[in-house]
Amino acid sequence: MQGIEDKPSAGIWIRGVDARVKMIAVVIFIINATTLQDKTLLLTTAFLLLGISLIAGISPVHLVKRLAVILPFGGVMVSVIPFVTPGEPVWTLQLGAFKLAVTKEGWEAAILPCLRMLTAFLGMAFLTSTTSLREMTHALNHLKFPKILILLIDFTVRYIAVVMDELNRMQTARKARGFKPGRGLWDRHTVKTIGSTLAMLFLRSYERAERVYLAMLSRGYTGRYKCCGHCHRIKKLDLSFGAAMITVSWAIKLVDMGGIQWSPLLK
């Protein structure tokens, strides 16, 4: 679980950009992108983000790995919607007695959310691959995000590493005594073993929480966290990067909203 707290490996130059600016820009980009109606504009946005990501030094392999996380949901949606939407069939699949038909309306309904998903995915990939979680929580703090949530995220991330280590050691110890998970939920021994392992992990975590609290008390903790992080000044480079991203995003959005009315103006 060490990946969580590590500095991202990608994004050599982009890592220097202030995390606040990056976050705001990417959030606006994603919100705008997920409301686009025009497929060409969506694709344009996607390629734009892909371009920035690649320029930032994010490896394509990394992107594909990340994509694997959201594919199940997206995949199911794309493979279901075209078949179940009523409309004019464009392609049929004969499975014995069953006949499945992809409808034009269904295809239309599926392709748009999927393009949006992909675009937003690229936006988030760009952000999370070039910014560590710590930089993000730090930025959120300066953006006046509720402090307690930031503290909780920081705390959780710190102890995910510790608790996952405990879990891994417990699983290794089980294996060392010849444990092999059974085939299914009806295997009582397997269910009992998994249940007891998690129960023990819970008790250990619960007690650790108490010890952590005592250790905090002993260093003068009074239930309030006082800010000690220093706030970096936002530099011109940061601002121009943010402004550029946001402008492009809104430009695409405006073209999408009023594309038809714009075209005569351009003539």
Partner: protein, 271 residues
């Protein structure tokens, strides 16, 4: 001058009724190195948690630097007595080493330059200066231990209390830790450690306090550890050096050896 810590007839029971301390009276003089010995469950940790005001006094009194500990001087107490917990993962909870060391001073109200200076100084003292930006997860056990100590040092306490500090350290880590504790002691800090390592106590401490089932069995010179009756009652063992000389009572006059140096000087006389 008042002693650093003075505990009088302290009793303590946990909520579930377990009596952890039973009329304990101990004294820790200023500027000394004290080892609290006793088997697991003898009440060592419970006693330590009183020094820092984490456990509130139920019966008896605890005086620290001349002041009687009560609810109103909690914050003062925590800045005077630094507690280093056994498992550094319990103590280092922040995302980076720097932030963790800063936690105590920030609670004391330090900010800006002054804070920076304190944290830097504490990290330098434990030789972890270049690790400030590191994530605790990537540190070795010994490094974590030193960061935990830095977190306490940054609050500039007069008394540093460590619970079982060497349990999982390898020899190099132990050496580094004791070198550190001795340096602190030379600067005038009082150091209290709870341990069940008799060799360590014999070699390092100015005074030993032996606990057994919540009671103070005895306290005084490390030479107490050569007393077989005491050691047996407290379920401890003789220091290795003492064990070697046990069959030779004549050599143990006027004083049974406990440290390597004492052993050597006896052998030198024999040659």
């Amino acid at each position: 001058m008042e002693p650093a810590i003075e505990v009088t007839k302290l009793s303590f029971s946990y909520k579930d009724g377990t009596r952890a301390l039973d009329r304990c009276s101990v004294t820790v003089e200023r500027g000394t190195k004290v080892a609290i010995l006793g088997p697991n469950g003898s009440g060592k940790s419970t006693l330590l948690l009183h020094f820092n005001g984490i456990h509130l006094v139920q019966q008896g009194t605890v005086r620290v630097l001349g002041k009687t500990v009560n609810q109103h001087n909690e914050q003062w107490l925590r800045s005077k007595v630094g507690l280093v917990f056994q498992d550094p993962d319990d103590q280092i909870f922040s995302g980076t080493v720097w932030e963790d060391v800063a936690f105590g001073p920030v609670n004391q109200g330090l900010r800006g330059e002054e804070l920076e200076a304190k944290v830097r100084q504490a990290l330098r003292f434990v030789n972890m200066e270049q690790y400030g930006h590191k994530v605790p997860y990537h540190l070795s056990y010994g490094q974590k231990k030193r960061v935990a100590i830095a977190g306490v040092l940054a609050m500039d306490p007069d008394i540093i209390v460590l619970d079982e500090p060497v349990a999982f350290l390898d020899p190099a880590g132990k050496r580094a830790l004791f070198e550190l504790l001795n340096r602190l002691n030379r600067q005038g800090k009082t150091i209290v450690t709870a341990t069940h390592d008799v060799d360590l106590a014999a070699r390092w401490a100015d005074k030993v306090i032996i606990l057994c089932r919540g009671r103070v069995l005895t306290q005084g010179e490390p030479a107490l550890l050569t007393d077989k009756t005491i050691v047996q009652e407290a379920e401890l063992e003789l220091p290795t050096v003492t064990e070697i000389f046990a069959p030779f009572p004549d050599l143990c006059q006027p004083k049974t050896p406990v440290t390597v140096e004492e052993a050597r000087s006896i052998i030198k006389q024999l040659l």
